[in-house]
Structure formats: C-alpha cells, structure tokens
Assembly symmetry: D3
Homo-oligomer: 320 residues x 6
C-alpha cells in the first residue's frame, strides 16, 4: 500500500480573548491538517503543530517539497519516509564546476587575499575533494586554503572528505556537519582528522560558544559579534577560547572583525567576499576602507571601530 | 558621559545577481545602522547583522524596547548596558493574583482533571511560591500540582523557588530556566532540588532530547510529536528516555499524546487546557472526543490515532 | 621460595534450613579450600568464594589450568602469579594457516557473500595482520573484509593490529579487546584507528548498548535480538544508535536480523556462516530460506519475520 | 487479540565437527522455539538464542515463570508484555514481619555486633521504611544500622525509600538498584540522598570497581576478595578507592576481610551472619575464631590471614 | 617490630659542571638520607629526592614534625605510618573560643561591615558548627555570614559541617577541603550541600579557574588578580564564570577588587580585614581610602584603580 | 603611548602581632609596588601580592626579565603585553647542535643503555624534529628513542612535532606541554598523535596521578616515589594505572625505580644519566651498583631496596 497523495490544509481558529502574556499575544489557534491517501483508498487525516506565523508557508512546503518525495512510498516504510523528508532539512547543493575553480583562485590572489575559504558539502566527499585538489593545484602551496561545508554533511561524509583532503594543507574545515546534532557530530570529525575544525557563526551568545568548546567540537571559533551579543559578549567568548586553547576568528564583517581579532593573541584571520558585487556594505558603505595588500589589511586607527560609514549611501538605501 | 539617544536605520542594498544557493536566494545585503548620541555630544555609528527578513522589526525593537532602557546609562558601564538589554530576551510576567487561584483550581476539578500545571516564573521566587502554596491549599492533598516557569528564571532563582515549594508535593518543575543555557542551568536545578525537572517541548528532534538527557538536565521529557519529528521520532526519543531512566510526557495535544504516552511503560500524564475557549482544536475540532472522568481519559480505539476531525469546522477555518 | 603444589578441595556444608529468598534457595554453604605448598616446606591454606553450583568445575580448573602455570613461580612475585592466572580468562587461539585463507575466501564468494568477517585476536598483531593481508590479496578489492578479535587483545595489541591493517580497506574491527574492561579499552582503540569498531553482541539489554555508546566505544552496534531483549528492546537500542550517529548490525541469525536491519536507515549488513555444516538452524531449519545472490538476500515478506520453521526438523531434534 | 498459550521447545542439532576454539567446544547448535497462540487462532513461531547449556532450564522458565504472566495480554501491547517479563529479572521479596524485627535486633546485640545490615528492597519503599523505623526503635540510637536492597528497586523507588529513612541515621544503603543499569541508577540515588551508597560485591575485578567509581555511583565499595581477584586485586581496588575518596568494606567473609579492611586507612566494617546456622565456614570451619566483643573483633596475628582451618570438618564435607 | 628512631641527613654533592639550561643552573646533586632504626636493631637507610633549595628545611621537618609521630609505630603498619605523616600536610588549628565570637562580630558591625567571613576547619565539624551558631546568634539574621575552612577538612568532614550549619543562612563555604584533591573533593561537597562553595584564591591563572569550573567544584570564584594573572587574566576568569553561571568574588585586596567586582553583573562582595592592625596596605598605604558605611564602599573614581599610594609609607618600608 | 620604564619596589610592613595560625607565622605584610611610566609622561602605580618570602626575587625578576620585554610596547596592547610576560613562565632553550647528537648516541650505546631519552621542546617543532631524525639515523633502528619536551611547547607545537617524528619509531613523548594547563593540553596531544604520552614526574601524590588519568592525558605515568608519596603511594598510583590500562615508569632514581617497576606487570623502563658526572648519587653513592649490560640491569636482591649507601661519601657531603 503506497502513498498516493498528500494534502495540507492550514487552519486558523480565532480565540474569544487574548490568551498570551505581557510580551506576546495568543489570539488564534493555528494548525495544519494533513490528509494522506493511499493507492488502496485508505485516507489518513491528522493535525499538527500550533505555529501562528507560518501556516501558509508550511502548507506550501508540504505540497511542493515533501509530498513529491513521499508519494509512491510504501506506508509501511515509516523510517524511510521519515528519513526522506528529514533529509530536506539539511540538503545543500554547490554549483561550481572544476573549470571555474582556477579562474576563481586567480581572482582572489589579484584581490590581495592571503587565502580562500572554499565551499564544499554540496557534492559527495569524493567530488568535493577533487574540487579542492583542483583549487590547491591552481593556487600553489603558498596560498591559504580553508574549506566550508555549511553543515552539508553527515559525520561519516565529513570524515571521508577530511581524510581525502588532509594531504592538501587545509587550514581549517568549517561547519562540516548537519545542524541537528552539530556539536556531537563535529566532535567526531575533529577526532578523526588532523584538519582544524571551525564553527561558531551560528551561535548568538557566548553560552553557545561554550557548548561547542565543552563538546570538544572545535579548534577555531568564528563567533560573529554583529549577529551575536556584540563586542562585550564576543570578548567573553574569546576568553573562553583562550583558556580552552581554541583559536578565534570572526564570520565575515571584516570592518568589525579586524579590531576584535587583532586584539587577542589567539586571533586568526578576517574574511571578506572577493566578488566586488557580493557585499556592498564591505565594498562601498564605509568611506575609509583600507587596501588589502599581500594578504594583510591595516587595522583602522580611528575611535571605536575606526569605521566611517557613507551617509549618502545609508540615505539612499534606508528602508525606514 | 551618558547615552542620550539611540537611532536605528534598516538598510537594504540590492545585489546585482542572486548570490544564494539552490534552496535559498540572496538578492540583497541587509543591515541595521545604529547611531548612539551621548550627552557630551559624541556620536557613535556602527552597522550590525545581515538579516534579510526582519530588519524593520529589529529596528522597531531597538527603538521601542532597547533604547528606552539604555538611555541615561553611562557609556562606561558596558557590562551593565549589555545585561540590561539581554534581560529582555528572557523576561516574563504572570498576571494571576492570589485571589484567582482558588477559583481556577476548583474549575480544574470540575472539568475532571487529575491535576493542574501551574504557571510560575513571572514573579520573584518568593511571590510565585506563595501562589503555589495558595493553590495547594485550595485543592487539598489529593490533586496533582506541577509548576511551569516557561524558562523565566535563572538557575539561582529556580533553585530558590524549588526549595520553597518542595514541601508542597510538587509533581514536577517544567522549564525552570532561561533559554540561553537551558540544559546546563536545568542540570544545576535538578541537582539542587528533589522535585523532578521537565523539559523537551522546545526540541524538534530526538537529537535535542538526547542533548537534555546527556546533560543530566531532566527527569521527564515532554517532547511534542506534533511540533518535532512526528511519531517516528517521538518513539526514538521515548527509547532514549527508557534506557536513561527518564519518564516521558507530551506537550499539549492530548489527542495525539494519549496514544504515545499510554504505549510506553515510562509514560506519565497527558495535558489539555481546562478553559473551554483556549484550545478549539482540542475542544471542538474532533467529533469523537472522549469524556475525562476522575482524571482519566479513555484512549481512542479507532485506527491510527483514532481521531475523527470535524470536516465542517476545517472547512470553516481553513485559510488556504 | 617457590610454589611446589596447589591443591583445591571443594566443600559443601548442608544448612539446617533454607536461607534463600522467594526466587532462590540457599541450602548449603559451599567453598573451595586451596592448599599451596612451597619448596621450602611451608604450607598455606585458605578458602574462597561461596559458589553453590560450580565447586567441582572450579576445582578442576585450578588443578588443570591454573596450578601447572603457577608451580615453580616465586611466592614473592605476587603480581606475576596473579597476571599469569588472570591471562587465562582472556586467552584465545586461532588455528587457520595462511594456506587456508585463499581457499576460504573463494568459498565465500561462491556462496554469494558480499564479504567476510575474518577471525583474528588469536595470534600476535603482526601474525594476524599478515593473515588479513593474505585474505585481502586473495579476494581483491571489491569484497568486503571485516575483522573480529573476539575480545582477544589488550588495547595496545588491538591498536598495533589496527594500524597494520588500516591500508587494507577493513570495513570494521569487531570486539577488539578483553572482556574485563571492554568499553574503556575499545574507546581507546576507536580513537587510535580509522577503522570502525563494532561490539554489542555480548549485551543483553539496551542499557548495555547505551553503556557502549556513552563510553564512545563503538561505531557499529551488533546487539542480538535473539540473545538480548528481543525485537522490542532491539528497536530501543537502534533508536539510541540513531541519535548517537552509530550504525546498527546484528550478531548472526540473519533470519531475524534481515528484518531489523532493513527497517532502519542506519542498518548495515546481516551475517551468516558460509560453512554449510556450521549453523543448521540457518541452513536447514526454515523452509523458505531465500537465496543469497551478489551479496544480497531478499527480505522475507510473510507476516512477522516471514519465517516458516521446519516442523519435522524441530520434532526430530527437540530435547523436551 | 490476546495471548492464549505460549509453548517453548528446546532444540539441539548435533554438528558434524567441532566448530569451537582451543578453549571451548562447539558440537551442537542449540535454540529454543517459542510458539504463541492467540484467542483468534493466530499462531506465531520463532526461534531464539544459541545457549548450549541451559536450553531445558530456559524452557522451564518460559513455561513456569513467563507464560503465566503473558497469557491474556493483548498482542498489541508489546511494551507492556516486554516490561512484564523483564520485571521477573529483578524481582525480590522479603519475608520478615514487623514483629520479627525487635527480636532479631536484640539477637545481634547479644552476639556482640556493632550494628546490623537490614534487608530491604522486597516491599514498597514505604513498607520497607516502616520496617527500618521499627528496627531503629528497637535498637536505640547507639547501634549502627545499614540497609541492603539487593538490587531490588528502581532508582525512583530507592530514592523514595532513602528520603523516608534519612532521619533514622542510616550508615549506608547497599545495592539499591536493579542489575541492568546498576552504576547509572546508583549514581542517581547517590545524588538524591545523603545516605552513603555501597556496592561492589558483584564485581570480579578492580576494573569493575573503577567502573563504579567513575560513574560516581558509590561512597563505599565492598569488593569481595574471595569472589573477585583475590588479595592482589583487592589491594588495587582499595588504592582506587583511596584516591577517589571512597571508603572500602568487604562482602561477608570476615576471616579474610578483617585483615584487608584493617590494613588501610579508609577501611570500614567487617560483616558476618549472626544466625549461628547460616554460615558454618565462619562459625565452625576455623579453629581459632576470635570472640566479638562490643562490636570489635581482634585481628588474627598468625602468618598470612592467621586462619587455621578445621581439617576434620574439611574432610567431612569435601565433595571431591 | 617498631620504629625507634628516624635520622635525616641532607647531602649536597657538587657537580663538575653546570648541567642546567638557559633559565636555571644545576650545580649540585642534593638528596636527603633517612636512616630508620627499629627496636629489634634493624636499620634501614635510603635516600630521597633532589631538592636543591630546601634540604636543611626538609631535614628539620623530618626530625621535628615527622619522626616524633612515627616513632613507636609498627613497621608493618605501612599505610598507618603513611597516613600519619601525610596528615601533617593538611593540618590546621583554630584558636578562637566561643567566648570571643560575640565580641568579634560586634566589632565587624561597628566597622561598617555587611558581614563576616568566619574561619572554620580547625576543629571537628561539630565544634566548628557550634562556633558558627554562636556567631549567628550574636549578629542576628540581617548580617551576612560566610565560612572559610582554609582547606582544613576531608570531604566527609566538610559535608558533615555543611549540613549542620545549613539552617544558619550561610552565604558561602570557602575552600572546604584539603589541597591534595581540592577540585574533586569540593565537587562532592557542593553536591551534598545547599550552601554555595567558594574557591579560586589559590589559582594563579584563568586556566586554574577553568579547572575548578569544569570539575563542578564551585558556585563562587574568588580568583585574586594581585596573586594571579592581573586584571587581564581576571577578566578572562570572570568571563568563564559568566558563561558557566558562577559568581565572582576576589580574595582580599579590596582596593583592587572593588573595581573588578563592580564591573561585572555576576560580582559579589569585596572583603577586608576588620582588625586595624592586620593589613596596613589596606588600612594605611593609600591616601584616598573611602569610608565603609552600612556594608558599602564607594568605588574610587580616579583613573585606573583610582588608588593613590602613600609615598612616605612606601619610602619607609621599602626593602630594596 | 608606550611604556618607558617599569620600576618595582618591595615593601614589608611589620605587624604588631602574629596573625598566623599554629603552623605558620604572619608577622609582616609584604607587597611589591610597580611604577610604570609612559613616553607621554603618565605614571601608573599599583601594588600586588602578599608574598612574604620572595619579595626581593620578584623585584629582581621584574627588573631583569619582565621590564626589558615590556618597555616600548603600547599601553593599549594589554593582551600583547600580558602574553609577552606570561611566555617567560614557560620558556625553554636547548643547546645541543646536530653535530653533537651522533657522538652522544654512541656514548649511550657504550654505556650499555637500551635507549635514550632525547630532550626537545627548546626549539621550533621543525628544528627539534630534525635533531631527533639525526639521532635516529645515528643509532639505527634497534635502539629505543624517547623524546622529552620538559613542558616546553603549546599543544599545537607539540602536535606538529609529534607528527613530524611519528615515522621515527618514538617510544614515548614526555611532558609535551606547558605547565599552566598540562593535563588538558596533553590530552589534546595524545589524541592527535600515535606516540604514547608520558607524564607524572611533577606529581607529588597519587591524587595528582589520577588527575592525569581522568583527563585522558597519559599513556605512561612516571610518578617519582622519591619526590612524591614514597613506595606506599607509588603502589597506589601503579594500581590506578593498572586498572586504567596505563603503563608505569619512574622519573630517574634507578636504584629505587628498578624494584618498583619490575614488581608490576605494567612497568616499563628505568632511566639514569649516562654522563658519569651528572648524578653522583647514582654513579657513586651506593657500593653495590650492578652493571648495565645490553640495556638490562639486574634487580638488587638485598633486603628492602637492596641498596647499600656509601657511608664515607655521605659523611663527606652531608651539610647538616
């Protein structure tokens, strides 16, 4: 007996009063009804969840992303159905071909970069390892090469990949594993490879950074002050790293990162997008951007971050 | 030198091409500029984050929630400013007075309930403990009383509260501590009190449940199949609990929970809202709801969950 | 002064009443007297234990297995005497010669097997590694090779062996270390090698499986439903493995294992004896055994395990 | 649909050759067939295990102990059926009445004992706590009282009991929890009560003692030299305890224990049976047993254990 | 056979060249010969250690402190001899009588103190608990009382004491346990009592503070910036504490501590000696000491620590 | 603004009475004043510590070792200044050149040694690895080579070194990492390399040895009975190692070590200085030193350690 169709119906029932608290309102009861039909004519119907914001989006995802994969599967293969749908929560794809890689590396060099963070995790470990090998060949041995899987792999895939690229002098391996068990999976990867493991950009407090450190999951933490708890909390995270023998980096935002990283002995690199169109805040929104030469950028010496924003540009693009 | 004003400006700069991947689009660079003025005339300006969805909402929060608390504070009190703003991320308030409590308890009894889950965490430990004491007095000794702080307290506050209510025969203490370090804080609370600690409703996978168990944070797990990974994953979580000697419950949704809980030896209670207006899905959206008598509800015996939904009601409230 | 003789005397003293509980009887006090004589004429005599079932067997073991090794040793070498006797509790021996290996591998291929689990642990790490190398040479690269030490080695020996065979594409390393500290020793081996470590067949509950997982001792768990807690408990163990990122296998009994393994995403292989005389239950006791082709066996589709036992054979061999 | 009958059939199939190793023989393939009939006429048949020694005993246990409990249960209540059968593996019962307790305590005092180890774990925590209370009342405050549950309780039951008897000045709580997860369960009990937890008599090596210590399961270890690795290994276990701040005791066998316990600073008590008929090895099999007075026994001063065995008695009761 | 005398002889043998490294010299081989005589005339002689600085002091300690305790002990009581000598490494004695306590507490109040840190650990738990009870009675309930055992107790003694004083509203319990295993022993005490445990003054780096936190040994850390790694490292330690939910204090040196403690949200109290003669650096060596009123001291507002030292006093007491 | 000078002034202020306890005296308040001047004319002055013994030595170290490194640094580079000074606490230097190595190895062979412990940690990992390679080349493959970094490296440096020398058949890697976090850093090294890690000579109790074992920091423990707790405590440490699967060695002092090491199954080597001038206690202070031949030394068979000291030599060099 197989799944023939899956229908999702978002429901919102208004409540007669506000059942929320002082910081939030509860004015309706929401749910999504799912109705599954099998080729044998059986119909199953159930409701799920109480998400008051994304009912329509969830319905769309069920219809467009989940149902097509489940239709035709046996209803007795519960674990397979589950695994198939869950896999969508950590899918990723990478579009770059081997042919692109040489040109891209060359562009980074021309931009004065000391190295490049290479996106992997979208293909099989073997295929991505080949791309990294192509990159290493293109740049030679005196250019720093890191890899970033954006949480695209299982621990086993990440380990397989790491062992393949170990001989390529990889500076670090960033976010190797799926989101749903990141600290535990990365700790496994870290034990299985000699390439340093990096993570932290997804944390929003120093407590989250401590979670990674206590799990033995990381060699480098790239906690982002502009996404997380600001300079105050970044400094706390940096102290945790110092006493744990873990290095610190910073996710993007070189304007801010350069001050933070250069102010601690265990700081590593700052990072920016080489493509001049990718990050206009970095490329154009500050009037005193220092040049990058030979892989180095001078730290701005003005007060605070030493950052002078472009008032005209802010005026042009402000949305409120 | 003190903060005189804080201004936030959301900025969105269109990109010349889509820099996203196959499952997401990156069409703009977003950021929020914050401009802080001091009473000495100094102005500081910086940008933060790259949130492409909530720029306006973040701006509103800065103006309405954060700025008022920060204005007037010394710019040299960095940690105090930080703590003041961070506290908003875990604030809660409870509105019930001591007078209401007797009436509410009586209503639960009349509704056939075996007990009541009492909301705390919105007042000081002492004040909330007084409310719980009033509840215990109102219901006598043969009515189950649990408390739920909805992550409203620090570990120290939760421990202080737990010790105050220990003599009141409290069945469990649910989500005692703040979100930012929940497992570690709850583990401290669990060691400091003899009241069982409950959590799990905020997890969306069995991996998250394992995180709580490995941290020694819980005595009871109320992982919600309808919010998390469904029956398949709930059963996995229940197996983890079984081998760890942890009991299982389920967050709300008695229609689903009754089957799950009653199918395992370490199941505890199901829960529903007593207020007839609070949860129409529970009260009215199924046509075969069993009565609750003497704190017990018969498990539906139809196929699957044994749940027959009300087609007319779905038709009336469907939003797509 | 050296040990000249060791004499063991089993003693059983009847008790005047039953001192047991409701589920067991205590009707006698048993012990074993050991009398040791030295070449200097000194005699030592002591009693040990209270084993009510195996007194005669223990006596036999002392006379036949322990005494011959101890006689002649200095009575001042306490640790050496102890170590010598203790080593008997984890001795193993393997009889296969290098010459046999090629023939054996060929037989497995002919039987349709996808691979072979190779017994090691009975010789020195070097000698056993040579045997594995011979096996790999015999089968070529497209045949799965696992090794099973049956708890035959210390951690150091197992690590030495693992490093020697790492280049031979070993699928897993089963029960590498001695029984007396299995989880801790295997965790050491697992950290020291890139070959996955397998264990679990000696556990009789899912609690035991959790012990292995919590110790970080295993990559694959082959808990045996027919020796342990049955399907119900095997499914629990499989859930533990799933959330810990550990794969599951099953010790022997393919008839049962095929259903369990194929029903979970993290299942691996099933195993059977290739020798047609080794396991008549597998070879002959079921009437609907599917063929094995190209390393695959179709899962039986009948109700339950889909297993039809041979009534005549049961009648012939039943012993009660 | 309910279980109507359960039939077990032990099967032994002779093998054509010995498939064992140098230390063991494999001459037959054994298994037990179980055949279950339901009231609806359905019959299920499967085989389990490969135990070459206890097939008949297993068959008897299924017929006499398991089947009667399972017959009549719904076949859809898998977890309940499992739990019911598993509970037999850790059942215990205690026969003493409250009336006996006063007399028994008095007898211990008269025998010169310093205290008494009280058997619990066979009744509910409340019922056993009442018995302990009666014992404490009978002996007054200057008599040592310990309790021993012989692994009879779950962690929750053991904790409930411990809290009930905490005010009764209990010297220690021995083997509080079921065998299947002893270290983890005892660690929970130990954290939840102020009564010291004792275990170790079931270990047969110092590795097992370390397992208990590493799990934080014990305050006192009563590893038995006569059941485990002898004096050499007991001394190792005592060293582990010393550096972990854990005290040492010894399970029964005072003749041996007195020397071991009194030779280390962290030794506690020795124990013997007060009933003159219970342990003839202790009561009668040595000719130089010292008197016990005021709860103290002089340590024998002869060579070795200072133990002179009764040759006539050995001659009379030797069974080989 | 008993120890009759113990003689120690320090020996220093000059070396023919410097065998040290660039940062230290090795110009002699030092050792201490110990010669022990028994009442049976046996003489034992051995050498120990290679301490190039304290040979004479070690010799003195052997003669004056160790030998008198060991003389007369049986040479077969190795563990007892060892324990007796080792106990000297963690002995402490407290001189205050119950009579003194009332007067002392009164003096603290008059000095404007908010509370008092009471020295314990020198008597038995019971005797010290009586002293604390007397102190609590003398000061009433609105005066903060902490206790400091200066590492004077075993874990068991510390736990016994903690339970006795729990009802006395003790703010914290400082350095409860012996030096030789401080983190592990304190972790035991912390789990066994509801009084917060304080330590950290003996650490000289933030790594040491992390050791205490990772061991679960402390609720409050009083790392001393003036003994350890200064303000830079104290701030790191404070960050570790913040993310671990541990409060910070500072050992003595209020002049420095007031700035550190008041600059973090998790700071507690500062401490000083009430006796005007005990700490002239605190009492007299700075010219701008603020008054203490109602348990509060205003934080100095000058640059840096805001501390103006007394030049004349420095000139008078400088020793180089 | 940069540091121009640093001045340190030791101060000792006599107290009016003894504020110490029964085992120590507190007769003065000591501190060190540091006065720092910048090139901008600013002067900072603070006091630190209360060390009553080493005020003058600390002052000397500040003037001679710390100040020269700090002068000229920016006062805003707090972390850099801190790191620069802290680095002095774990600096080391090694003087041997590559040319010396061949000769040295030859001498060891001639002295009958089985192998050599090679000092590293004073140069960069690469430079020291070259020296080890030279040593291995000089001695050939049948000579045991261990390396000892004397705590000279960070974890990263030690790991880099270990990987470079892994192919050189290194028997063990002793004290690879800095003192301030030795157990944690060594545990990282141990996981990252296949060379066994050795430490323990800096411990003075078996508790310290347990700390290393619990941290997973060591494969071999060389606890020194003559520096630590003597034979009694060394035996305890050896028991800990036995149950943890860790081998035991002994730091220097072969006279004592030979008995300890050869008395346990997990003992390894004893060590002595090959240079006849380096250790006169070993070379000349005992009259019955056995010869070393083919890497083996016969264990002395006299009573006790079997050690007969040279009375004349003791008389000549005794200093009290």
């Amino acid at each position: 007996m197989r799944v023939e169709s899956v229908e999702a119906i978002p429901v919102e029932i208004p409540l007669t009063q506000n059942f929320g608290g002082s910081t939030y309102a509860v004015l309706k009861r929401s749910t999504v009804i799912t109705r599954m039909r099998t080729d044998a004519g059986l119909v199953s119907e159930v409701y799920n969840g109480d998400n008051r914001e994304h009912g329509l989006e969830i319905t769309r995802l069920i219809h467009e992303a989940l149902a097509p994969r489940v239709i035709g599967m046996s209803i007795f293969e519960g674990e397979r159905v589950w695994e198939t749908m869950f896999a969508l929560s950590h899918a990723s794809r990478d579009r770059k071909t081997l042919a692109d890689i040489g040109r891209e590396m060359e562009a980074y060099r021309l931009a004065g970069m000391a190295g490049c963070k290479f996106k992997v995790g979208g293909l099989s470990p073997q295929a991505d390892a080949e791309r990294v090998e192509a990159a290493r060949k293109a740049v030679g041995s005196d250019f720093m090469l890191a890899v970033d899987a954006n949480r695209g792999w299982t621990a086993d895939e990440a380990i397989e990949f790491a062992r393949l690229v170990e001989p390529l002098d990889i500076r670090w391996f960033e976010e190797p594993c799926h989101w749903y068990d990141d600290a535990a999976l990365m700790a496994r990867v870290r034990q299985a490879t000699r390439i340093p493991v990096t993570a932290g950009q997804s944390e929003i407090t120093s407590h989250g950074v401590r979670r990674l450190i206590d799990a033995g999951a990381v060699d480098i933490v790239n906690y982002d002050a502009s996404e997380g708890g600001g300079v105050t909390d970044w400094r706390r995270a940096a102290a945790l790293c110092a006493t744990a023998g873990v290095a610190v980096a910073h996710h993007e935002e070189s304007q801010i990162a350069q001050h933070l990283i250069s102010a601690v002995p265990h700081g590593t690199c700052i990072e920016c997008f080489a493509d001049p169109e990718r990050d206009p805040v970095w490329q154009r929104m500050w009037v005193n951007r220092p040049a990058i030469r030979d892989g180095m950028m001078a730290v701005s010496t003005g007060p605070g971050f030493g950052l002078e924003l472009d008032a005209a540009m802010i005026a042009k693009y402000r949305v409120a």
